[in-house]
């Protein structure tokens, strides 16, 4: 039996001289009908370019296939070498034989057309349906991707839908013509972890229903463990290993695969938590947050009463010197707002934040998520690092430069980088630079807001190790804000789980991760993809986060807590 797709020695280059600028350097693989292949790799590995070559969308990004063949079996039984096909022919395979969904559901839908119009277009292009027929088909496919209240959603514009809903719309569009091959390019990377679990479950169900093949591109080998039949690991444009999923996961051959499986954070339900840092009951907390409330007013209209978004509602916790408290939660849970309120970057509505006088006048510093956006591209390293010190009234003198060199050395950057500019560094190096910068003022507390989320997985692991080392050396306390449970497991001593503006569970990391008590924590943890749980199957769970917009004057009911162990408290849920 001939495979659905057979790629041989594929080479793809970019720029004026594609042969010299190769991103994919000779990749071969076969995909049988109904099979799912996962292509795993980090940024720059060529995994997306490989996938985009299959429907030749790579041409529009400036790529050229310089060598090799991509033999696709079409639905009418004929075969086509996609690598050499004309644009006119390619247009007939896109959508019809090969559907595709992308990473960013926020930007992948056209903002000026309704969801319905965009899905109908797919039916018009590939099935020749028109008018009411196309509308019926669009409604039907929205139902298939389990969008609640599909009929009224057809008239929605993309910005009116959440990220998860938009990704369902993308999937609906790709399914419009019942393609035999679906390419999914990091379809869940931009989504919250519980939404990711829903989309993964949906894709698995649709695959079973339709019998289509899938190419699933991801940087997270744990994510595809449950869905892929085969895994191909890519590094620097080469396929370094490909085999059945079990063989790759249980018996990896290539060093890079082993590295991805072992050195990179994978969630293990609390088995990998740190062993250091016993909480000393005697010492005084360095930050004490008591009943913190942050609200953003919303204007409804000229005469309607004003309400407020209750972004943070009654959050209390202590942070001890030298300890890491991780605040985990999904987008909109209020975790970043909590951090910003502690630094005074947003105004608090109520509550007390007490910081113990520390080693310096600015005891709390912050590292942000995006190392590309948080360094001014026009300043060199010396100016960037001097900034906090100068803002604090110090002079840029030799003593300050000595401190810069000392800290750069500590974060693993050579001392001769002082004259370089941010664009000369990689993402990981930039984040090291940001970390060195916050240490300039010798803080007691560093707030890390998704500080490793934008980094490649193996870089992530190294930056986490660095953070642990620095914490010991400078006895820093970390407030570590993250959505990524695997990362949190590696660095946290204690964990606070936030949901809808409130802490629902807080306690010692191992206890919270291995024995979650609150229903939301349970849902969050079960949604985290894990290699060891790959044979477990999850039902689609479409629980929505409640709206945080409250009428003026609304106060939440007082929180009641119960102890779930020594240093592990859970908010008591109201019976429904």
């Amino acid at each position: 039996m001939t495979p659905l797709l057979s790629v041989r020695d594929l080479r793809v280059g970019f720029g004026q001289n594609p042969a010299a600028n190769e991103v994919v350097k000779g990749v071969s693989f076969d995909l049988a009908a109904g099979e799912t292949l996962a292509i795993v790799g980090e940024s720059g590995s060529g995994k997306s370019v490989t996938a985009l070559s299959v429907n030749r969308l790579v041409d529009f990004g400036g790529g050229r296939i310089t060598n090799g063949s991509i033999i696709l079996q079409r639905s009418d039984g004929s075969t086509l070498d996609v690598a050499k096909a004309e644009e006119k022919v390619l247009r007939t395979i896109r959508g019809r034989d090969v559907g595709m969904i992308f990473q960013e559901p926020m930007t992948s839908l056209n903002p000026v057309h309704t969801v319905g119009a965009q899905i109908e277009e797919a039916f018009k292009l590939n099935r020749g349906l028109h008018g009411a027929e196309a509308e019926r088909a669009a409604l039907d496919v929205l139902d298939r991707v389990r969008i609640p209240d599909a009929k009224s959603r057809l008239a929605y514009y993309p910005h009116q839908l959440s990220g998860g809903m938009r990704q369902r719309v993308m999937i609906a569009m790709a399914l419009a013509s019942s393609p035999r091959l679906l390419i999914a390019d990091e379809p869940t990377t931009a989504l919250d972890v519980t939404v990711q679990a829903q989309i993964m479950a949906l894709l698995a169900e649709l695959r079973a229903e339709t019998g289509m093949s899938m190419i699933f591109i991801t940087h997270d080998i744990g994510l595809v463990a449950g869905i892929a039949d085969r895994i191909m690991v890519m590094q620097h444009g080469l396929a370094v290993e490909q085999n059945t999923t079990d063989a790759v996961l249980d018996n990896p051959q290539h060093d890079y695969t082993k590295h991805l499986l072992n050195a990179v954070p994978h969630f293990t339900s609390g088995k990998a938590v740190r062993a250091d840092g016993e909480r000393a009951a005697t010492s005084e907390p360095i930050i004490k947050v008591d009943d913190l409330v942050v609200r953003f007013p919303v204007k409804k209209g000229l005469f309607q009463p004003k309400g407020a978004i209750h972004a943070v509602d009654g959050v209390s916790f202590d942070l001890m010197p030298g300890e890491t408290l991780a605040i985990v939660g999904e987008s909109g849970s209020g975790k970043s707002t909590t951090a910003r309120a502690i630094l005074g970057l947003v105004e608090k509505h109520r509550g007390a934040i007490a910081a113990k006088p520390g080693r310096s006048r600015r005891p709390i510093q912050m590292v942000f998520q995006d190392p590309f956006a948080s360094l001014n591209p026009r300043l060199n390293v010396e100016a960037l690092m001097a900034e906090p010190a100068i803002a604090n009234g110090q002079k840029l003198d030799d003593a300050l430069r000595d401190r810069m060199r000392f800290l750069l050395d500590r974060v693993g950057l050579p001392a001769d980088v002082l004259n370089r500019y941010p664009h000369q560094f990689s993402g990981g190096q930039r984040q090291r630079l940001c970390i060195a910068r916050v240490l300039m003022l010798n803080p007691d507390v560093v707030v890390l807001d998704e500080a490793v989320s934008a980094l490649d997985v193996s870089v992530q692991a190294r930056v986490l190790d660095l953070l642990v080392d620095l914490q010991r050396e400078f006895s820093l306390a970390y407030l570590f804000i993250s959505h990524d449970m695997a990362v949190v497991e590696r660095i946290a001593h204690r964990i606070a789980v936030m949901y809808a503006g409130q802490i629902v569970e807080i306690g010692e990391a191992r206890s919270v991760l291995s024995d979650p008590q609150h229903s939301y924590t349970k849902r969050l943890i079960s949604a985290v993809p894990a290699i060891e749980r790959r044979r477990q199957h999850f039902a689609i769970d479409a629980t929505q986060v409640p709206s945080l917009v409250r009428p003026a004057g609304y106060e939440p009911p007082p929180a009641n807590w119960r102890e779930a162990g020594q240093d592990h408290r859970v908010r008591i849920e109201e019976a429904k």
């Binding site: 247009r91 992308f102 056209n110």
Partner: protein, 319 residues
């Protein structure tokens, strides 16, 4: 709707500010009004005649009392009497404005119908020879002064075709539409030339941005044709900067086009303001500037409404 009302409520405040500014600044120009009005003959006036004239125009009063008098007239729909024409300012504006409005509209139609397609065309041929040619033309159009184009057009028409466009008086659109459009077509081309060049450049760069957006890739992944990608998916997203530019340019044109009016001897608002300023016709300057400012505000409001129509994210708001 609420929004439109709110915006309209701010108009009187802005216009009040504009009127104060104009009122004061025209009086700060050196030289006195009587001399400017009468020219050399002003030297023949006796001091008594001079002060009688000043009293007649009301300019012997302190500025604030002049302003209050003018303002109270304004509320009764009286913009004062022009010293040049001896007619009510409002009547003069009503007489001159149709030409200016029609000229501005025609220039905009020309600019958009030439500029947008050219810009879209260039964007889809990015860095190819045809793109470079369009970009060069646009650069040329923007950098050539309008009087050069106007003089060239008149020269070519009269020397090679023996045709001289009607000058001096203006045939309104409702009297004889063809003659009216025919009379303004060459001035409109002159003005539309640079306007079209700006539209070309801005629509080219907006399209280039949009064409690299993710949803364009999505459209292609569905199998959409190049034509559908460009006109259906990309262009509606690229129109906002074009509308912004057109609004600003159109607003300027409503203030009159002095040079083109001069070249083609057209009685528009531009020359009116120019004459009023050089001859210190206080009432006329105040009236026309206020009128022009009002038009500008109105155009800006229309531009904002166009955004609302173009972009559902503004129209419907977030979740």
């Amino acid at each position: 709707m609420n929004y439109v009302v709110q915006r309209l409520l701010t108009f009187p405040l802005i216009l009040l500010g504009v009127s104060v500014l104009v009122f004061v600044s025209i009086r700060m120009v050196p030289g006195d009004a009587i001399t400017a009005m009468l020219g050399t003959e002003a030297g023949l006036l006796t001091p008594a005649q001079r002060s009688a004239l000043a009293a007649y125009f009301g300019i012997d009063q302190p500025v604030w009392s002049q302003y209050l008098r003018w303002l109270s007239g304004l509320f009764q729909g009286d913009l004062g009497i022009s010293s040049i024409y001896g007619k009510p300012v409002l009547a003069i504006i009503i007489e001159r404005f149709p030409l200016t409005l029609q000229l501005a509209l025609m220039s905009m139609v020309i600019a958009l119908s030439v500029g947008v397609p050219l810009g879209v065309f260039a964007a889809t041929r990015n860095e190819k020879p045809s793109d470079l040619i369009v970009r060069m033309l646009a650069m040329l159009g923007q950098s050539t002064p309008s009087f050069v184009i106007g003089v060239l057009i008149i020269y070519v028409l009269s020397v090679f075709f023996g045709f001289v466009p009607a000058m001096g008086t203006f045939t309104p659109l409702f009297v004889d539409p063809l003659a009216s459009i025919g009379q303004l077509i060459f001035p409109a081309i002159t003005l539309g030339f640079a306007f079209a060049a700006s539209v070309t450049r801005i629509s080219r760069s907006a399209m280039l941005d949009v064409l690299s957006d993710d949803y364009i890739r999505t459209a292609r992944s569905k199998g959409a044709s190049q034509r559908s990608v460009v006109w259906r998916h990309a262009l509606p997203n690229a129109l906002i900067p074009v509308v912004t530019l057109s609004g600003v340019e159109f607003g300027y044109l409503l203030g009159g086009a002095v040079i083109v009016e001069q070249i083609f001897a057209l009685p528009g608002l531009g020359r009116l303001v120019l004459d009023a300023i050089t001859q210190r016709d206080y009432a006329l300057v105040q009236g026309t500037v206020l009128f022009i400012a009002f038009n500008f505000l109105l155009v800006n409001l229309l531009v904002d409404l166009a955004y609302v129509a173009l972009d559902p994210r503004i129209r419907i708001g977030g979740r």
